[in-house]
Symmetry: C2
Subunit: 294 residues, 2 copies
């Protein structure tokens, strides 16, 4: 998905919130904003929004000298989600359709997103879970189920810290031996890295790799050869969150299913759904050609 | 009030909405946004936000070749407000305290603001009026009443088209011979100019002057000598709206009373009130020294 002019105000809102969280010095905030004004002015709108996210967060890390300004907040979200984990496992096991419940919770977990929701707090997470059971979904859970059943290698692209506990709930409903879970290669915003996958127990459950990149999404050219190889060989790619959707939705032929909440009006418009909708969206041709039911 | 870093995303949101309203060509939208990225990068944050508004709207008029891109929308708001006018006069006359009712309606009219509210539609105006009677006000209606009673020359600074019909309701409760009503000197956003004052009948009621400037606020250095003279000689200045507050609130010694709705979080913080509050705020020293009760 290309960058829209509407993304410009949002870049500056995100950057300001991010730098304020990373550094208490107002002079640093002004310096970042002025530098970004040049960066955004010179950007190519055919690029996807997460590519600007990469630049913004590189600048923040450069200015603050902190390679991971969101370390604390990521730890917090992982802990909050882990505290909820036992009750969520019970809820899944007690439900009529554990797969559907797990899918809904995995999508609900996508609410833990500092890029889209500035007011996101740990306590808000519990409220979000209550939404999970009844929120309308655009896309078919059964088609996702069939696509998973039919696929050999499944690559699951994670999104944010905290959220990956919800991904773990879904992965526990899948044939684990066929799953590879991928995280970002380096810290960017509150996106999950290998440290987060370890912290929430994902590394004990499935094969976890990092993608070698610090884009808050998946730009293959920016990813490691190992990741690109896994991506190319995957029979099914489950891609979580807006950043992965924005960067991969234009890719013809990849067997991708996107799971996300449409948290911004531009992404919602691109998906053809209302803001806040839970989305299961199959990537174009390849899945349809191969399975004809997703 | 100086410009805050939080104003930066808002400048771009406003500019994009404004240029889309003024010109259907997406290439013009992108050109404006890229040009503004340079303008905002080089701005002095000690300037007030309406000074950036002036630059944004000059660029839009330059790009579109239209000296008044909001002509149609301003006419619309004037007409909607004029249709409501007879019933609002009745409401004021039937009320226990016609002055208070008129003040509340004048403040309510400040909702007609395309800078703060992008979704503002004509039909929304009627809803706003219903709020007028019960919204909490910060500041004292009685102190405003006393200040008016004690003042000889009163200069009333208007804000937006449509809104000035609500100002007319208040002016009809005041000693008209003492009132001068001022509008912007040239079109900018949906701010009222002389044409709007004529359209809503204000010119038949009181002396109306324009301030000679196209700032969506009041920067004295940018105003005409005639306006500056009236400003200096006024015993009381009633200044409507956020733009006038942002540009005049830092002025020591001027006998100003601001009437507005706090429509943005930064202005609300500056005023020390909640977002959406109806505000009657006396400008500092001079009024207090002279009247000691405002």
């Amino acid at each position: 998905m290309k960058t829209h002019l509407d993304c410009i105000p949002c870049f500056f809102r995100q950057a300001l919130e991010a730098v304020r969280q990373a550094d208490p010095d107002p002079a640093a905030h002004e310096r970042l904003m002025r530098e970004l004004l040049t960066v955004v002015r010179d950007m190519d709108l055919r690029e996807t929004p997460p590519q600007m996210g990469q630049r913004i967060h590189r600048k923040i890390r450069e200015l603050t000298g902190d390679v991971d300004p969101y370390r604390v907040i990521k730890g917090q979200f992982n802990r909050v989600a882990l505290e909820l984990y036992p009750s969520l496992v019970q809820r899944i096991e007690a439900s009529d359709d554990p797969f559907e419940t797990a899918v809904r919770l995995a999508i609900a977990g996508n609410s833990i997103d500092l890029a889209a929701y500035s007011g996101m707090t740990a306590s808000a997470v519990t409220g979000i879970i209550e939404d999970a059971s009844h929120k309308p979904i655009t896309g078919s859970i059964d088609e996702l189920r069939d696509a998973i059943n039919r696929s050999g290698n499944i690559l699951y692209l994670g999104d944010n810290a905290g959220e990956i506990v919800f991904d773990r709930l879904l992965i526990e409903q899948l044939p684990r031996e066929r799953i590879t879970f991928a995280v970002r290669g380096r810290p960017v915003l509150n996106d999950a890295t290998l440290a987060d996958a370890e912290a929430v127990g994902l590394t004990e459950l499935v094969d976890v790799i990092d993608n070698g990149s610090d884009v808050p999404g998946t730009i293959l050219e920016d990813c490691s050869p190992v990741f690109r190889d896994r991506f190319a060989r995957a029979d099914l790619i489950i891609a979580k969150g807006m950043g992965n959707y924005e960067t991969l939705s234009g890719m013809d032929g990849a067997p991708i299913v996107f799971l996300l909440i449409a948290k911004c009006p531009i992404v919602a418009r691109d998906l053809g759904c209302d803001l806040g909708t839970y989305v299961i969206r199959c990537g174009r041709e390849k899945i349809q050609e191969e399975s004809e039911d997703c």
